[in-house]
């Protein structure tokens, strides 16, 4: 296959970026999208041009490191698929691809296609946990959990923290990400004691990081590689309202 790529190039956080066009020849349909970029980069290095920087690590769709906009769609055209698991057979020979980083106030671009997603870590630090010190746990089977609740908690816990939901949202909202963690822990008995504080603190951390609010556009769910459902956002809203009413003085 031969492709024409238009790639966002930006030297560092402060620099002004621009789109640059490259030809990608000798591309096999069996290559992953990142392997295609590898091939382009090997070519660039040989001709003395800086390779395109992009984040990646596991290359099997689970670490959440990778993620670019391909023709305006976060993680590209294939449903439920991270950029690293996207394969070139999803594209046509001769196609033009526009490749850009996530764009959101909460995710500043660090270089080319790499953005700073540390805001997500800070949101988790605000409450995305159960406060249980090592060694203080009771026997695991002393807490039976309805299978359907456990399965649902798992579905929510499958979020990989990639940030595609934010990139796809016109408000750059991180609600899908936040709601997935809140839902997971609110579905489980272990998460109950901190349930209200968690919802309040994580939402307020999200707002402090500059992410927008949710106006029910559902773009997030459409691009989410782990098919996290917007039902969790509705659940988070309920959690949040209940918590705010029950504990009007809770620290936010």
């Amino acid at each position: 296959m031969k492709l024409k790529l238009h790639v966002w190039r930006q030297k560092d956080k402060a620099a002004k970026g621009r789109m640059v066009t490259y030809n990608a020849d000798n591309i096999s349909p069996n290559m992953s999208f990142l392997e295609m970029l590898d091939v382009v980069n090997e070519g660039l290095i040989t001709t003395g041009e800086d390779p395109i920087a992009f984040a990646h690590d596991c290359r099997e769709g689970i670490c959440g490191s990778c993620g670019v906009m391909v023709n305006g769609v976060a993680h590209g055209p294939q449903d439920a698929t991270t950029t690293c698991q996207l394969h070139m057979r999803s594209f046509q020979d001769g196609e033009e691809l526009y490749i850009e980083p996530w764009r959101a106030k909460g995710f500043p671009v660090l270089r080319d296609l790499i953005v700073d997603r540390s805001a997500f870590d800070r949101i988790i630090q605000a409450g995305g946990f159960v406060s249980v010190n090592t060694g203080s746990a009771q026997d695991a089977n002393a807490i039976p959990i309805r299978k359907s609740d456990a399965d649902e908690a798992f579905n929510a816990a499958a979020c990989i923290g990639c940030g595609a939901c934010v990139a796809a949202c016109k408000n750059a909202s991180a609600m899908l990400f936040v709601s997935a963690k809140v839902a997971q822990l609110s579905l489980l008995p272990q998460g109950q004691p901190e349930r209200q504080d968690r919802a309040l603190n994580m939402v307020s951390a999200m707002q402090n990081e500059g992410f927008g609010n949710c106006t029910n556009q559902y773009e997030c769910e459409a691009v989410c590689p782990k098919q996290i459902s917007t039902d969790y956002i509705a659940r988070l809203n309920r959690e949040f309202i209940k918590a705010a009413l029950t504990y009007p003085d809770a620290k936010k």
């Binding site: 090997e42 596991c58 670490c63 394969h87 090592t134 695991a140 798992f154 816990a157 499958a158 990989i160």
Partner: protein, 641 residues
Amino acid sequence: MKLDAKIPAGPLESKWENHKFDLKLVSPANKRKFEIIVVGSGLAGGSAAATLAELGYNVKCFCFQDSPRRAHSIAAQGGINAAKNYRGDGDSIHRLFYDTIKGGDFRSREANVHRLAEVSGHIIDQCVAQGVPFAREYGGLLDNRSFGGAQVSRTFYARGQTGQQLLLGAYSALSRQIGAGQVQMFPKTEMLDLVLVDGKARGIVVRDLVTGAMESHAADAVILATGGYGNVFYLSTNAKGSNVTATYRAYKRGAAFGNPCFTQIHPTCIPVKGDYQSKLTLMSESLRNDGRVWVPKSKGDKRAPADIPDSERDYFLERKYPSFGNLAPRDIASRSAKEACDAGQGVGESGFGVYLDFADSISRLGEDQIRARYGNLFDMYERITDENPYKMPMRIYPAVHYTMGGLWVDYNLMSTIPGLHVLGEANFSDHGANRLGASALMQGLADGYFVIPYTIANYLASSKLEKVTTSHESFKAAEDSCRKRVGQLLSIKGSRTVDSFHRELGKIMWDKCGMARDRAGLQEALKAIPKLREEFWQDLKILGTNEEINQSLEKAGRVADFLEFGELMCLDALTREESCGGHFRTEHQTPDGEALRNDENFCHVAVWEHEGDATGPAKGHKRHQEELVYEHVKLATRSYK
């Protein structure tokens, strides 16, 4: 070099309990006076950093990814073992202990493995308390599945994403401590050197991967939990950033390396497609619970799998190992697949593949049941290969997956450098010559949650630790040498890319030090690697500078270390004149092709010591031995027949 494994006296079952009582404690008020560096945020590092912070120590934690949640533990699929005996199927601490020793082909320490089995149950308790959504049965209790090398069901799992869920559990505990200010987290920061003061590990030098700044951090003790070095083979199931740099730098500073040649080749990975291939993808071993492995009986049979009648298929694992069948341990399953392919029975374009067939299970249990168990793995397979495994068998081939070798540690998980502790895949400790499936997650979390918090207190309480700051000359010297090395890499300005060198090294390692090894091949590799290394230092091409995000430069530093380390692996493989577990020397096999151990001469850990200056090239590697003493298990020929 004096090697003292510090194995406590007394009966096996009470060694750990007694030892915990004998270890010195640090009082709550004194804990906050200590600084501990944890390099790595995977299951081992993340759990250690969180727990030490909960106890009140001041912790600094480092990882090279942009978030601690992305450590490669996230990719573990199948499950985690624990001797809970919730099934009532005859499991016990002793059985898990025995299976692990036997699975490791009698090359691990009894006392360590027993402790691992003892704490395994607490891990599950802890993870459930954190909200890890393990699979459950309709009654609401935890479910289990079976893994290779065991005849009981002791593996806990969260669909095909167990590592992810366990890591997110550890990450949440870590995040809580970061939020509380007890852990200072340094993502996108790579450790480049270890710093010793008065012979003790007192800090590290790191490079900020965004700005390129070299910085030192001082502490009272250092923990390395930096994962495995499978990427020395270029193609492996490890993440692209997985490296040997942290442990190899420690090795050059004097920490001994245990059994570097012990690598695990996993039997069920998606076969290589083309020369652009950048990594290999594992298909979890749990699939062997319901999938049957086979090849056509006749060579070069190109018929579609569905057209090959049962009578013309060779279910070679079931045939050769009737009592374990498709759940034979990894080393055995991998070697059998290689043999079948070498004999011309392999399938797929390249002929390097065997079938993993779910047809029988699907007709027995229905597609929905199989989807519930392995849905995400089947989807992943289809995305990569464009083939639907519900309709046709998967094609799989072995790939490099795990490294049993690692920095040598004593029972307290301390290396030969006082104060330097090593956890998780980065140490050599518990898996001998072959790790059983679902035991790495167990070991990483055992080390981090339940072992190091006790043993490090003993070190801190019983050592004289003068106040040290990063203005100490040892830090300055280490920083300088790191800067110099980066400068050297950037100034070569040759013609070849880092990846081209890495691929070439990988091919040497796979061909000569992979699934089967022999003297002549290893000797060739020992000539080829130094030559390649020399070329690397003369002809490498990296663009850009240090003071920016420079991914080629990051890779180059790692590949430079692999180019030295590969040699050590081959040397270790050459010296170990026996076959055991994942180390198969073709000269040493039984008449029916099984690994032939040599207990008389090799019932020991090979412990390597670096010779030469820490910042220059290795002058040599000196081999020491830690004899393994089996008091409870009788050395036997491993049989899964």
